[in-house]
């Protein structure tokens, strides 16, 4: 059991989320969507939102059985009426119709999947989001301009993805415009590769969303844009079972390629922290309809690689787990 989070730092983190990340203003309608396991985080955010002068509604639901499962109808209906939505939950609803519909209706959405109170007090939340925004945008622009990505790693990853025509996505820890979306405290640049184009081998040595850190690397074969085999040890077997349990072949399709860019986030085995961890590369299987892809399904599973090398149209942007692309551009190093 970790020690309880410092309440003053929790309150400061909640205030940062509400004011800096969401830009919540007095008189706005704020909705906190949380679940019965994560409700104390919901309460901290609600208090900060109330302190900002917003009209605050809190909606608590049973946690989802898996990341990407649709929330109950009552939650979907509430989300459609929010100006700003904060979503601290044990299991993510980021990639659901409910959240997409809320964004289409103009809501600014800040999601905090697998969140605990201490994540408001320490870790990724401490990064200087404003200073890092240009960096994240730079990587997103490179994704958007690239035709092809080539991913390799010392353990045997060798996969190619076509990106042509797809927009890069910058998750800058801010949702300041109607329809904006950001997972906190994630800083990442990512893209929905063209469906059907991913080919090669992925060796996942970091973590799997919802499962934690990987001790025995998981080897996936990618053919025609989908994972066709999942091999390794116990974690591989568990991943395979999760994919099978989705009961939808689209859960196996490659939906996302991204780079983690939060220097305050470390690879610890939760969906959120790993994906944004500085220098990690992730490939997600499943849903990507919310950021320019065509895969609509109830599952979105991020697979995180530790020490990968990523090249976009031949130019290396991440070298063995270290983002380097930006060093060629006139952007200062991020604070350490």
């Amino acid at each position: 059991m970790s020690p309880p989070a410092d309440p003053l730092r929790v309150a400061a983190g909640a205030r940062k989320v509400v004011t800096q990340c969401a830009g919540l203003r007095a008189g706005e309608r704020a909705l906190v969507v949380t679940d019965y396991l994560t409700a104390e985080v919901g309460r901290a955010l609600a208090e900060a939102a109330g302190a900002a002068g917003a009209e605050v509604v809190v909606v608590v639901m049973p946690p989802r059985g898996a990341h990407g499962e649709e929330p109950p109808g009552a939650v979907r209906a509430a989300l459609a009426e929010a100006d700003v939505a904060f979503i601290p939950v044990a299991r993510s609803i980021s990639h659901t119709e409910a959240v997409r519909a809320a964004r289409s209706a103009g809501a600014r959405v800040v999601v905090m999947p697998e969140f605990e109170l201490r994540l408001l007090a320490e870790g990724g939340i401490e990064a200087d989001f404003a200073a890092l925004r240009p960096l994240v945008t730079w990587y997103a622009d490179r994704f958007g301009e690239a035709g092809e990505a080539h991913l390799t790693c010392p353990r045997g990853t060798d996969a190619r993805f076509s990106l042509a025509g797809r927009p890069g996505r910058a998750l800058t820890a801010s949702a300041l415009e109607p329809g904006a979306f950001t997972p906190l405290p994630n800083l990442e640049a990512s893209i929905a590769p063209l469906e059907g184009t991913a080919e090669g081998t992925l060796v996942v040595d970091g973590s799997v969303a919802g499962q934690g850190l990987v001790r025995t690397p998981i080897r996936l074969a990618l053919r025609g844009g989908r994972a066709v085999s999942v091999e390794g040890g116990e974690e591989a077997a568990r991943l395979r079972r999760t994919l099978e349990a989705a009961g939808d072949e689209k859960a196996w399709w490659v939906g996302e390629l991204g780079v983690g860019l939060n220097p305050k986030m470390r690879l610890t085995g939760t969906l959120l922290e790993d994906e944004g961890s500085w220098g990690t590369v992730h490939v997600a299987l499943g849903s990507n309809a919310g950021f320019g892809g065509t895969i609509a399904t109830s599952r979105h599973l991020d697979l995180v690689l530790r020490s990968a090398t990523l090249a976009l149209d031949g130019e290396v942007v991440v070298r063995e787990g270290v983002p380097v692309g930006h060093l060629r551009a006139a952007i200062p190093d991020p604070p350490r």
Binding site: R29, L31, A46, E55, V56, V57, V58, V59, V60, M61, P62, P72, G73, A74, V75, R76, A77, A78, L79, A80, E81, A82
Partner: protein, 323 residues
């Protein structure tokens, strides 16, 4: 560890009154002043297997103020709705919309721990009382003229021709409200027909008045209360009826019959109005009960030992319902 004592009442609300079934979408609407009560009923509903979504909002500033849009939207998706709120949202468009979509609503405005432990909730066999409620409701619905008398001197007559009774068994069907443990049948008099004298001697469970120390005498003419006499509590009532400056506040809106054999007079609305052996006359708004009058207020005036005749036949005397 008082939660151990409160669990039985919460469970009954979910299981017997709400009839929550496994997998049913349940919405609990509450506000920041009623958190613990919301948690109790949400827990009980979840124990029945319901899929429970709990909403919190700032307390309403006055009874009948609409809930925020996200809460109203959530209510519209409920099969079963519980509303432990500190200020009522019963008479709102959001509630109307939820009921029209088939929700079964358990009303818990200002619910107290005492109510959760009361015999009115725990001892009453709601299913058994339901038959009685329906028979009395049928008598009102079919009836034309009502005469209300009491040993203290009440003598009031009015027409109910064409009016349907509202039967609140506390076990709601889709589209029905249940102010548990207030089991009652009520009917709205035809506007303009009520004439007579009313001696209110039990309670006015509103405005901080509560159990009456001294009876309140009301004169009723042409469907309106035209005079209010008595002591301090009568004065408080009259001030409240005058202060909105709307004559409809004096409209005789409702005859309600309490039908919970275990309810006791405590000054709390949800318990008082169900006390078997009392009736209450509603004053003010009637449109939410099927009448035509809209007013900014609705208060209920309770009296002991009523005798109710419908078309010359006695349907109730004291605690005895004779249909």
């Amino acid at each position: 560890m008082k939660e151990v004592l409160l669990a039985r009442g919460a469970r009954k609300l979910a299981e017997v009154n709400g009839r929550v079934r496994p997998g049913e979408p349940v919405v609990v609407v509450s506000d920041y002043a009623m958190g613990p009560m919301a948690l109790r009923v949400a827990t009980a509903a979840a124990a029945c297997g319901g899929e429970v979504v709990t909403c919190f909002m700032p307390p309403r500033e006055r009874h009948g103020q609409e809930p925020p849009a996200p809460v109203a939207a959530a209510m519209g998706e409920a099969r079963v709705l519980f509303t432990p709120v500190s200020v009522s949202i019963t008479h709102t468009r959001a509630m109307r919309a939820a009921l029209d979509r088939g929700a079964r609503a358990i009303l818990m405005t200002a619910y107290t721990e005492d109510l959760l432990r009361s015999p009115a909730l725990l001892e009453t066999d709601f299913e058994a009382q339901a038959g009685l409620c329906r028979r009395l409701g049928a008598a009102f619905t079919a009836g034309k003229r009502v005469r209300l008398t009491s040993p203290r001197g009440t003598d009031l007559r009015f027409s109910i021709e064409g009016r349907a009774a509202n039967v609140l068994t506390n076990i709601p069907e889709p589209g029905e409200l249940a102010p548990v443990p207030d089991i009652e049948v009520n009917v709205v008099p035809l506007e303009g027909t009520a004439e007579g004298r009313v001696v209110v001697d039990a309670s006015v469970p509103y405005l901080g008045i509560g159990v009456l120390r001294q009876p309140i005498l009301c004169t009723v003419e042409g469907g309106f209360i035209t005079r209010v006499e008595g002591g301090e509590q009568a004065e408080a009532l009259e001030r409240a009826l005058r202060s909105p400056g709307d004559p409809n506040c004096f409209n005789l809106a409702e005859l309600g019959v309490g039908l919970n054999p275990n309810a006791r007079l405590t000054g709390l609305m949800l318990e008082d109005e169900g006390v078997l052996g009392t009736i209450h006359l509603g004053v003010g708004t009637s449109h939410t009960l099927g009448g035509r009058v809209m007013a900014p207020t609705h208060y209920d005036l309770l009296m002991w030992e009523p005798t109710i005749e419908v078309d010359g036949r006695t349907v109730q005397r004291g605690r005895e319902v004779l249909v």
